[in-house]
Subunit: 184 residues, 4 copies
């Protein structure tokens, strides 16, 4: 089973990209799972514009993102919370990808995580982030993973707090079982 993972922030030192890396590390150790870890910056695309789509088609970045999703059996996204909701950057990527001939989100298991320097760990925003994915047919895993005070959460290897490591590990294992059942 192939799992596609990325952090949905463009910033180089993004806490969400770091959380995506940790998830990739943990999942990579599970036998039978191959991980495809991407940086969000690999998929550059302009703000969605219907006229642009008509004249030039899908931007290359959106095509690439759609292809990477379509090649995977399951998706893990670490998404920041902006203004209590989904980030515009991630929603814009969803809007472009939703215009492909084959909607690659449809029927794919998806785990949402979020890292934030604040006390709530992006969880409030994740509840809004679910909605467009579910509207497009993704099988969003009920449990969400929020990492509060994320600027202090990472160690040289893994997490500063062993409980965080085991909490994420357990969730990723549960999600993998869910995704594997749906694949078969």
């Amino acid at each position: 089973m192939k799992v596609f993972i990325f952090g949905a922030a463009l910033r180089k030192d993004s806490l969400n990209q770091e959380l995506a890396r940790q998830a990739a590390r943990i999942l990579g150790e599970v036998s039978g799972i191959s991980v495809d870890l991407a940086a969000f910056s690999e998929f550059p695309m302009p703000v969605y514009d219907g006229d642009l789509e008509e004249s030039s088609g899908m931007p290359e970045g959106a095509e690439k993102l759609a292809a990477r999703i379509a090649a995977a059996d399951a998706i893990v996204i670490s998404a920041p919370e902006y203004n209590g909701s989904i980030s515009g950057a991630l929603k814009n990527a969803i809007d472009w990808v939703s215009r492909s001939d084959n909607n690659p989100f449809d029927g794919r298991p998806l785990l949402l995580m979020g890292a934030s320097p604040g006390a709530l760990g992006a969880v409030r925003g994740l509840w809004h982030t679910r909605v467009p994915f579910e509207a497009m047919g993704s099988l969003v895993y009920p449990e969400l993973f929020g990492l509060p005070r994320a600027h202090q959460a990472f160690a040289d290897i893994g997490f500063a707090d062993a409980k965080t490591e085991s909490r994420l590990k357990e969730l990723l294992q549960d999600f993998s079982k869910f995704a594997l059942k749906l694949k078969n």
Copy 2:
């Protein structure tokens, strides 16, 4: 009282921009109200990127949008529904504007409308569109205006259906009273 109005879609023949124009026409006839109608394309901005912000500051389009909002007493936005939620383009604009020193959304009355060729008239998406505005302190008017089958809704002047005209007129008058009370 000054009301800033725009349709939150970049497409030239956007149904939401047409709905924004109709709202501007109706509000322009109310004594005591001056209307500032904009096209969303006047405010070009890249997808939000924290590193870009650090190196280059706010993009000019976001600064202009923030200034136009700050100069108004109330805001009317006609927003499309993409994938059951807020459009990435609008959310991206909110994310950039929220980074200005003075959050211009805070405390400003806001009316949300939406046009769609479908049967539901974008109303489902408007309920998600409310959230980031409310998180930033906007006083979002409880009633929302959805225009279903919008591709058939407009006449040479105004709306094909007189009931739509009067429904929108009444709502805009109610919203104006609400905004005027909050201004004083």
Copy 3:
């Protein structure tokens, strides 16, 4: 595979109970599926009150509902929209059932439907109805079934419109496959 079905309204002539009956009829014809159809009125319970719970435990109606859910492999609920959101009656039942030692919603596939005399068919409310179920671990199927103008939708047998019958049939088949995969 056993599917538990009910319409989440207490009214005898509830349109949602009628929609639940139609879903039960269609699912009952699928080989390998046994249907357990209930009326919401079989599970009477008072408004949740923490003191009442402490003094008297779970009400019998909530215990029965929890047991019927726990005995099934998947759930189908037809839920009305009240004031743009979940009905208080259904949310109250969730609140009580969530207090059982074994949360029976956890990990169970759930399909949400809604009937309404209006033009939108309860779909807006279903997006809020998802939330507490997902918070409790239910695997809510991404697609929702809304039945608009429900007071005119039913025939002596089945639906007045053959397209509605085939739309629901297709969705129930897709949901059954989803639930069956998760069971194995």
Copy 4:
């Protein structure tokens, strides 16, 4: 200006009722404001049932609640979060009150607060609690007040932490100004 306040939980030692009491104390000291503090248990009502409504009309508790709201210029509710969403008890009260001839929520300013023993302070649930009130026309104040670790938050008089007291005081003053403007 009259402000109606209650904690939306039936339990006697409810943390939300205690938070409502604190808000009443603070608002009671503002000149020009009279406070009407209620316990939710003053408004007993059964779970909403359309047949019961037809045969017996509105329950007395719902009529009383509607009247207390209608007699006030603004409302403050401290609402618990159950299963990530609005409590069934509060939603049930909304459903009944929404059936009165005069919808008393329409046009009334409303401040939502929430207390919880957990780390998030009920804020996630408050975002869902907003929705039915807004659907009924309430002017829900954008800012929400969440009180995390509420079981340790109260002192003999007021709050254990002076910052909580001043944070709530400031919010209540801002809300009062908002409500007063809308009254005039």
